[in-house]
Symmetry: C2
């Protein structure tokens, strides 16, 4: 069986960077946006639509079924969403069968539970996440601290609802992970060296 | 500044063994029962009394003050407890100043917060904890699975109340730790090799 590491992460915790660097350090494949592209290919839907489905809160995507004609549109949308989820499931399983890998987000810890992934959750305090997000935004975006706080809260609320809905588990709750890593005031690069050393021993 | 690792742990998670082995692996001092002995020495109280104070739920130890004579006894007991806590605080700080160390339990993560300890919390699912406790009990104790479950729950309830009361924080909540390690179905020895490799990199 291949070695699989899944990374759940709070927005701004550096979890995506951690996942990417960890894959590099361990010589594993790294899957993140590639999954969206592959879903789009398999379902013949646009990448932007696929992204809106796999990154949104499920309750926002529910069809509103008042009146028959709207119900029809709703059903169609619902069927499309289902096909995105099914494609996502099967793509992840294919990838996990192919080679040792790190997969970020997308309930991979749950979807791949039969392949016994090593499940990491990355989190940080709000101050650190805010600092990380603002530093990243500086490159091109004009956003206030207050707006960024709101964005962080909204995105995490979405991730939490998405995860809870599709897994029946609680996002970020320790019992659903093997290791929870606090990145507050920590440099991701250094942390990854440590994590890689650990994972080389235990996986 | 010395390197300090504090270990909070659920009962039966193997956290104490993990702490001891980690100290061995890293060549750090290991403090656990030594602290009780040292408190007893400094306060001239018996080790068993000190243990009852530092391992019990705080609300159970509160003086009951109905009527003056009982209030006096209560005050005396309260003063004694306070001296135990003060001794514990100052002993921990002394130990943490002396050499790199691993300290298990006793709110060390909070008491030593100014020394920036690396704060680990060790946990596991109930089935794993039960299995560990029963395997340990087999050596001498006659206890049923149901009784052991009750004991695990009671001890953890006590640890949680003790921690919450003295730190004003939530025991086992990820924001209070740097790393949370799930030991369910895992061998502590192997895990420790990994953790030690990680901590050598990041501390």
């Amino acid at each position: 069986m291949k070695k699989i590491i899944t990374i759940g992460r709070q927005f701004g915790s550096g979890g995506r960077e951690l996942g990417r660097r960890l894959a590099e350090e361990l010589g594993f494949e790294y899957y993140d946006k590639e999954i969206v592209a592959e879903i789009a290919k398999r379902t013949s839907l646009s990448e932007s639509y696929v992204r809106s489905v796999v990154e949104c809160k499920p309750h926002q995507l529910y069809p509103i079924t008042i009146g028959k004609s709207i119900a029809y549109v709703g059903d169609y949308q619902f069927t499309q969403m289902q096909s995105v989820y099914q494609a996502q499931d099967s793509i992840m399983k294919d990838l996990a069968d192919k080679s040792d890998c790190v997969i970020v987000g997308r309930c991979a810890d749950y979807i791949l539970r039969e392949q016994s992934p090593y499940r990491i959750f990355v989190y940080a305090d709000l101050a650190s996440r805010l600092q990380r997000c603002l530093a990243r935004a500086e490159e091109g975006e004009d956003i206030t601290e207050k707006e960024m706080k709101q964005r962080i809260n909204e995105i995490d609320k979405g991730r939490s609802k998405y995860y809870d809905f599709y897994t029946g588990q609680k996002w970020g709750a320790s019992q659903n992970y093997d290791l929870l890593v606090n990145t507050s005031d920590k440099e991701i690069k250094g942390l990854v060296k440590g994590l890689a050393a650990m994972l080389k021993e235990i996986l």
